[in-house]
Symmetry: D3
Subunit: 146 residues, 6 copies
Amino acid sequence: MPLDRDHLIGKEALMILLQPEKKLSKELIDLGWRSCKGKVGSMDAHKVVAAVETAAKNQGMIDPQLYRETHALYHTIIEALSGVTRGNNQLGTVLRTVGLTFSIVRGNPYKDEREGEWLAVALYGTIGAPVKGLEHETIGLGINHI
Amino acid sequence: MPLDRDHLIGKEALMILLQPEKKLSKELIDLGWRSCKGKVGSMDAHKVVAAVETAAKNQGMIDPQLYRETHALYHTIIEALSGVTRGNNQLGTVLRTVGLTFSIVRGNPYKDEREGEWLAVALYGTIGAPVKGLEHETIGLGINHI
Amino acid sequence: MPLDRDHLIGKEALMILLQPEKKLSKELIDLGWRSCKGKVGSMDAHKVVAAVETAAKNQGMIDPQLYRETHALYHTIIEALSGVTRGNNQLGTVLRTVGLTFSIVRGNPYKDEREGEWLAVALYGTIGAPVKGLEHETIGLGINHI
Amino acid sequence: MPLDRDHLIGKEALMILLQPEKKLSKELIDLGWRSCKGKVGSMDAHKVVAAVETAAKNQGMIDPQLYRETHALYHTIIEALSGVTRGNNQLGTVLRTVGLTFSIVRGNPYKDEREGEWLAVALYGTIGAPVKGLEHETIGLGINHI
Amino acid sequence: MPLDRDHLIGKEALMILLQPEKKLSKELIDLGWRSCKGKVGSMDAHKVVAAVETAAKNQGMIDPQLYRETHALYHTIIEALSGVTRGNNQLGTVLRTVGLTFSIVRGNPYKDEREGEWLAVALYGTIGAPVKGLEHETIGLGINHI
Amino acid sequence: MPLDRDHLIGKEALMILLQPEKKLSKELIDLGWRSCKGKVGSMDAHKVVAAVETAAKNQGMIDPQLYRETHALYHTIIEALSGVTRGNNQLGTVLRTVGLTFSIVRGNPYKDEREGEWLAVALYGTIGAPVKGLEHETIGLGINHI
């Protein structure tokens, strides 16, 4: 059951966002891990969700034919969004906006291979008033089995 | 008003947690930035809050004689905790526990020096059932003016 | 992807609670579906979580050796609990108590067998002041892929 | 004060939804109980609220001339909605949609007739992505004095 | 249906707290309005709830034999508490404490006497760290039909 | 650190709303305190936020050139709004509307002048269905260091 401290899926997703040049290591790719990243800026929380979902489907992170994969992704995104909004998942409805980069990583972070695949979604960027400069940083991370 | 993209207080706090050897650069220290880090594991959310507050006071991150500094710190911690708990700030009351490292950074991340000092609190580690190994990663970041 | 309207996992879990004599049909059992039920009364939300987790492990609803199964179950329980508490997962901390029966059902409610197994947790009973009779009914249902 | 276990208003509302042919028994009707049911599908939480309110007024479940009755109904609906959304009452704003049937029951579920009339609102159906088939079941129940 | 702007139940409850000498006017008492006030300081949210409930019963604000009255009062208190805590009803679990005065008012604030009796609970005082002086003011108001 | 019981910033903000003729005393003005008030009615929570922000900027309550002041104000408004909505900051999205007066007060409510300036935002008025008369009173108060 224990996490493999060399294969931390959340940390991978976070470092891909925080260090522009960072990519999955050859070791992780050889283990079958996959990742992608993208950008989204919006006052609409649903557009943030949609941007991550679209990237996940287009980049082959999930199988769009299986609802169980979309379901796993959705809850992972919402968990990440709750970190960004610090709890309420509200943006424009309370007069604030975000400019985010996002990453998605899929792989097994546990020592036991029977733990199967997991999904991490990280969001990092700024949140603030809909006026240029009136903003500070924000981060969110969701992790789910898939 | 704009953020100085080379002086991102949230990113500094996050990198201090995610890269064990990471410290504030000489440039930031020369600008008067301060930081500290620590560890806390608990099923009680209030012990996480207390651990960060105690470190902040002991390490000279805030002036414990001024309530405005304690007030700024408290809300910063709670925001970070809402990322860790993905919204509800509940741990043992819903049968889960955390093992976290935390960092605190104080400095001005804006280009305009009149923006004064800000505080970032980052929390990173694991959250899960109160059984060894039944856990996944989690992160939270709070940012506030001080 | 579509739900099989004759194999509704949530409805099965709810009917098992609402009709004492109700059991899974032979058809569902032949398809590999499993279910169990139990009771818990407490002012501590974590005891409700623990009661459902313990039953799930003891009745073979999940494999306790796999964190991904415990993780799936945990989030399913918390979703059901949020229906019971109508949003905040708080019981004794806001001076109320519950007397609940619970059911767990595991199976594939979708027409496509590749959707794999899903888990439903239903909670039904009363919520109210910690005084006999000062209570009304409450229900909650969580559904997750496993 | 105690609930009459043969006159459970929440269970009546739930069974009316879960069993299409189910109606209030003659005994309950003779006691003055009333019920109605309806359907609503939407990405807007406010349209779910409006559909239930409109049905309640049109079917004589509440007196639209009295704000206390509208107030009682509103909070009952919001409680049921929090079960459906598992806590946040958000639908389209977080990119999800519902297809629901609803029931409303009015009567006194307590042994003491001085407890007066109560209202139960139940919601049952599916919640998921705004794509056909990407959905699972959901339920919610609100109960209030009127 | 409209509120009688001279008989505002929330304003009465608030003014009783904010002005120590304030009492219900003879006009309101002649109309059958009742009020009481009290004090509570605690890190436990449930003790705040209990203090208001006990005062309400001891001062004859509600009939303790009727659950519908206890139910109405409970939700009114919880609404007031959510203003005090600004949303989460958590005190000691997130390392903060309150020192509050509370008031309860019962009467009909509407022009139409068929609107019957309503209940207002107001809480006012300080919230902050469990250290003397580390606190600021807070208020909350709940209103419900009874 | 202690609050000066004669210079309660929250109480000042509340009394300005509850008593139409109330203004800051000459003593407080001599100490540099400032205040303003206004009105807003809307089904959109973001319009409530915008109305208070606009008044604060136009009336010189904050310096619009400094993000730290806008940031302090924003969180103060959101805290007040959570009292008004009793926790979720949702209005039209759950089919309700508000008619509010608001006040803003800026000053130092502590005995120690090093505590610097604080901000209080109070909101008082009615909340209810988007139909005239279907409403009751509501209040909210936010307090923050600036």
